[in-house]
């Protein structure tokens, strides 16, 4: 229930403004309507009461001026109208001991005031609903106001009015107009407010895009003054952040780049050493340093490369990586398609897949690589037999410089950039990378890339040669 209300609660500036506008206008309208109604009614009532009093007086006179009973009855009948029925009778319609209710008293006083002639006579006022009815059927006089005036000869003229005291009926047309007003206001306000809040929406969109874009465009500073100020503040902040990031990146790139000269010198110096064992150790350390620098520079490029996008046989790229690991004595298997054309940058893709396969070997001791076709996509899965990744860390591993085995010491080395680089490369290729823990233990990395549109020569299968050759290369 609470959730439902929260959902209905207007959330945008426009809808809130519309709500306020409609509420205010509705209140104004209803109050105005009520005030008008009250004023109009009191006026109408005064006029009606005066008319009634004059009517009663003149009818009474007319009846009093005739003397025989049938004549009086006829006159009473003739003078009756839809709203005021008149009868001449020997008895009073209103009981002498009728309850003097408040409205009866008010009515009596008003009639006396409006027709002073009546004050001199004996007359009774009562409402049928209040139990003032002396005789006859109560049903016929339901809701009616009754007035009985005694003539000088002791007979009575009985008036009954349905117009008086009838319940005021609801004027539906006024409500319909009010509703139409409300709908009209909502429509106009919606259009105007959407126009008025567009600069705010643009600001929000620009702020969202800021993190995604490599070089975001400055926000146009237009719209109302508050939005202009916000846009200007946003632009200033954007420039400041951009400058900060660029400076940091440049510093990092410069340091990484400049380290290459001393590393080259060290490589040359180590070559002059006579101690082979030491030289090999130094070479290995230098190799590790180079790898770190390469990874850092690659990360700073953010997957962006000057390389051209071309159709590439992804299977051959993965084969080269797998063969290299086999030569180093690692446990690697490759299964599936032997030809998998994708559109991409060969060096970037090579880097991404060697990071993923390298990780599987480093943390999972083995790598089982499968290349498969899934519709118009190529899906590559890399499975290992390590301990996998805790579900809480699944997203974190893509962040730069995050190494999950940090607590267990740095025995495996690395910069914590491998998966970050792989993910950004796959992203720039409009591909998907997904991590999942295998039921049997270990991690399964799935990379999905769209297949190149080119029809490969391997689509026509040769006699005895299945298009998907399966081979396992455990070493």
């Amino acid at each position: 229930m609470r959730k439902y209300i929260e959902r209905l609660w207007p959330d945008t500036v426009a809808s809130r403004a519309i709500m306020i506008l409609v509420a205010a206008l509705l209140a104004f309208h209803l109050l105005g309507f009520w005030a008008y109604r009250v004023g109009f009614e009191s006026l109408a009532m005064a006029a009606r009461d005066r008319g009634l009093a004059e009517h009663i007086v003149s009818i009474k006179r007319a009846i009093a001026s005739t003397f025989d009973a049938p004549e009086r009855d006829r006159v009473a009948h003739d003078l009756s109208s839809a709203s005021l029925e008149v009868h001449w009778s020997n008895v009073s319609l209103v009981l002498g001991n009728a309850p003097a209710t408040e409205r009866a008293q008010i009515m009596e006083a008003r009639l006396k005031e409006l027709a002073p002639e009546l004050a001199a006579e004996s007359f009774r006022v009562g409402f049928a609903d209040d139990g003032a009815l002396g005789s006859g059927n109560a049903d016929a006089y339901r809701h009616m106001m009754l007035v009985s005036v005694r003539l000088t000869d002791g007979s009575w003229v009985n008036f009954s009015s349905s117009a008086l005291g009838a319940n005021p009926h609801i004027d539906w047309s006024v409500i319909a107009v009010t509703i139409c007003f409300g709908v009209g206001i909502v429509v106009v306000a919606l259009l105007l407010l959407r126009w008025a809040t567009r600069p705010l929406r643009d600001l929000a969109i620009a702020a969202e895009r800021f993190s995604i874009d490599q070089t975001p465009q400055p926000l146009p500073e237009n719209g109302p003054i508050e939005v202009r100020r916000a846009a200007r503040a946003f632009n200033t902040m954007r420039e400041r952040i951009q400058r900060l990031v660029t400076e940091r990146m440049q510093a990092m790139a410069a340091v990484s780049h400049d380290l290459r000269t001393p590393i080259t010198r060290l490589r040359l110096r180590s070559e002059l050493l006579d101690d082979d064992a030491t030289r090999d150790l130094i070479d290995a350390d230098l190799g590790e340093m180079e790898a770190m620098i390469d990874a850092t520079l690659e990360y700073l490029r953010g997957g962006v490369s000057s390389e051209a996008i071309r159709p590439i046989d992804l299977a051959s790229v993965i084969e080269t990586i797998v063969d290299d690991h086999l030569d180093q004595g690692h446990r690697v298997a490759l299964i599936g398609l032997t030809s998998a054309p994708v559109l991409g940058r060969v060096l970037s893709l090579k880097r991404a897949f060697s990071n993923i396969i390298g990780n599987a070997i480093k943390y999972g001791h083995t790598a089982r690589v499968t290349i498969a076709e899934a519709g118009d996509h190529i899906a590559v899965t890399v499975e290992d037999e390590g301990s996998g990744i805790p579900p809480a860390d699944m997203e974190r591993v893509f962040q730069p410089f995050v190494r999950l085995e940090e607590s267990r010491g740095r025995e495996t080395g690395g910069t914590g950039l491998g998966l970050t680089i792989a993910a950004s490369v796959i992203q720039t290729h409009s591909g998907l990378i997904n991590l999942a823990n295998r039921a049997a233990g270990g991690l399964c990395v799935t990379i999905t890339l769209s297949k190149a549109g080119l029809s490969s020569a391997s689509s026509v299968s040769d006699a005895g040669q299945a298009p998907a050759l399966s081979r396992v290369l455990w070493s």
Partner: protein, 263 residues
């Protein structure tokens, strides 16, 4: 792996081989004095006569006065860049040039080769890699004959196209097929000697001549089977490399050469 490396090191120290291969005058152009000194000392150890130059001005002076067998040229130099210098040298001389490129970005490698360099080594390079490249380039220029294919060329066979400058292989459908350094060198050796039976030993020699310092420690048969697999995956098993029982392999295809658009 260690065993092969050991074997290679022994081969390097073979006195007869050293005399046969390692002689000549090399000019080393690098603005870092330490690197210049260390490269010079390293190359001198391997039997070369070495002259150093810190920038383009000195280099052009020295080149005008002395003749060299090879120039090792840094891409990033103060004043005129290595690419510009390379072009200037090429206008008057065919002396082999090995570029030292700073980044492993592809664009930098290509710039170096398009300037007319014969080969390149990316910094930070291992001295063994540099030595291997120098030897390979020298051997190629010294024994250049009709069948030898220069690096600035594109080779076509059976719909395949092989860019020797970029070290890229394109399948008949235009898809790039990735080859390891060893596999590419092996394919170059096959293409250079198409339709001729090559023994395992001969292939090993050819491939090694091009080998770029990456220890050539896989058996030649493994390399050939991997190369075959990659070629046949695309062409559905039609064999380009055929085994000749008892004597070696033959690359059965008509090879055409197209000059690359060299600057």
């Amino acid at each position: 792996m260690g065993l092969f490396r050991e074997a290679e090191r022994k081969m390097d120290q073979d006195p007869i081989k050293t005399i046969a291969e390692d002689h000549g005058h090399i000019l080393v152009v690098d603005d870092d004095p330490q690197i210049r000194l260390l490269v010079s000392r390293f190359l001198q150890r391997h039997g070369y006569q070495v002259t150093g130059a810190p920038d383009g001005r000195v280099m052009m002076d020295v080149v005008a006065r002395t003749s060299f067998d090879l120039i090792v040229l840094d891409l990033m130099l103060p004043g005129r860049s290595g690419v510009e210098l390379c072009r200037d040298v090429r206008m008057t001389s065919q002396v082999p040039i090995v570029m030292l490129t700073a980044r492993s970005e592809e664009s930098d490698r290509i710039i170096g080769l398009e300037g007319g360099a014969d080969d390149y080594v990316t910094k930070p390079f291992s001295p063994r890699e540099l030595l291997a490249r120098i030897r390979a380039v020298l051997r190629r220029t010294r024994s250049r004959n009709a069948t030898e294919i220069r690096r600035s060329e594109i080779v076509l066979f059976d719909g395949w196209s092989m860019d020797l400058r970029r070290r890229e292989l394109q399948s008949p459908s235009g898809t790039l097929v990735d080859l390891s350094t060893g596999e590419f060198d092996l394919l170059v050796a096959f293409v250079e000697h198409a339709n001729r039976v090559l023994s395992r030993e001969a292939l090993m020699q050819f491939a090694k001549a091009r080998s770029s310092g990456d220890p050539f420690d896989r058996t030649i048969d493994v390399q050939i089977s991997r190369l075959r697999r990659k070629l046949e995956a695309v062409t559905n098993g039609s064999q380009l490399i055929k085994t000749v029982r008892g004597s070696g392999y033959v690359f059965a295809s008509d090879v055409r050469i197209r000059e690359g658009q060299s600057a």
